[in-house]
Symmetry: C3
Subunit: 194 residues, 3 copies
């Protein structure tokens, strides 16, 4: 760090002070427990966030906005297979995964139903040297958003079923009344004939 000629190797080039006070900034990609981060931030291990995680959602950043078909969303959720699994130990140890048993989905299956939620992230090498090429990762938020649409659709279906049940109930009440009148008549009838 004392040699100005080696400044490009210095930590000041790795992290800089930001534009505003009390900020540290890096341009490029940051890896925690990985030396080849391929996205802005790659964490091999768990993350604890004490506050909230926010995403951009302002209409002014978006275009071609159109409502989605919740019927399709419910259909996709109904078809999505939910599985329990264990991460293979040779994969888990490299990725810093310690909760090896999990409930979730399989990227290969999600790709068929909801391709936008799945991303190929290149090759991954497990601890035993085994290579997984074109490893698939999933944006769970896309699945959970799909699930919101499925619930919207189920809500409509349930409301429709309730209307049909109400009609059946009204019908049955009418039938019951007629039955009573009819029985009454039959009784009268029976009395008069026998």
């Amino acid at each position: 760090a004392s040699n100005p000629g080696q400044f490009e190797n210095d930590s000041d080039a790795l992290w800089q002070r930001g534009h505003v006070p009390e900020t540290v900034v890096s341009y490029g990609r940051v890896g925690i427990n990985t030396d080849a981060p391929d996205e802005a931030l790659v964490v091999c291990g768990n993350v604890k966030v004490m506050g909230t995680v926010m995403h951009p959602s302002d209409s002014r950043a978006k275009q071609n906005i159109q409502e989605v078909d919740t019927t399709e969303q419910l259909r996709r959720i109904a078809q999505m297979r939910l599985v329990e699994y264990d991460y293979k130990p040779e994969f888990a140890s490299v990725m810093g995964i310690n909760n090896t048993h999990e409930t979730g989905i399989i990227a290969q299956e999600v790709k068929e139903l909801l391709p936008t939620a799945v991303k190929e992230v290149g090759d991954i090498t497990c601890e035993n040297g085994e290579k997984v090429d074109n490893f698939l990762m999933v944006d769970k938020d896309q699945i959970f958003m799909e699930n919101v649409g499925a619930v919207k659709q189920l809500c409509k279906l349930t409301n429709n079923l309730e209307i049909r049940i109400e009609e059946l109930e009204v019908w049955n009440r009418k039938l019951a009344k007629l039955k009573r009148i009819s029985s009454l008549k039959s009784t009268v009838n029976e009395k008069s004939t026998f």
Copy 2:
């Protein structure tokens, strides 16, 4: 960095060793691909987390705990519009967004239904110099938690509908029986009268 007297401006001031071994620590705000992070961590780009993301949820950190009205949660989910959209390229390029097509919600609409899930994060400047003031971001977890409540409510509604259907089925079986008896009587009746 070459002047020891300016050590406080050095990278050691940006990141320090933590209290426990093998830890690096920063106080303030950290930005990746942004020089003006306005929260503890701001990432322009994607994040890959190999392990799990955890949030505090211990009852001992909470007060004024009261059960929410799932009827209201279902009502809000039913009203929440789900849309497909493209991020405007001049916004996406600044924010490190490469999945420009997405399914989601519009912060301005969520604000009406679930204001606590939306946060104003100040002004944002797009690549073309266009400024978006009071940009809105969303805490999707709040929406997904709302969706859990909606499912709880739908489960209650579905159970109620099933009870009403069972009653109708019992009724219909009784009616069918009466019908048979009645037809029998009518037959007897008819025979005796004609």
Copy 3:
């Protein structure tokens, strides 16, 4: 840091250049606004992610894959209590939480229903010196994934209810027809007897 011979203990030891260009890398644990990170990344405060958050989900990293029982998932979601609460100020201030009012679940209750979603993270000290031992954190994604299963199950239940309603409707139409014939007969009957 003032001794060039100890350069390897310097900040370059905190963060290093990665394997690929434009990357910064840390091995161990990174804390933002905490000096004792106990996971790969611990953030006291909020996180803003402009892109997407991805998780591993490739079938090739998994073993012992078996489909989950969505009946059980719906049962667990139906039993999960959703609450509103305020974070205690002495906890919120240490953890960088500024949205103190939230809707969510209570880790102690989730632990009974879905133990894999809850993790003990050691002791936490609040601003007033109060210590919370064995603090519980929750992996919300596990709950939201459970909610996807609950929706799958509700979809099945709703489809079954619809089939039963259809049968009732067919029945009622038949009964209505019979009724009309029967009334007709009764009318004939009545005419002939009176």
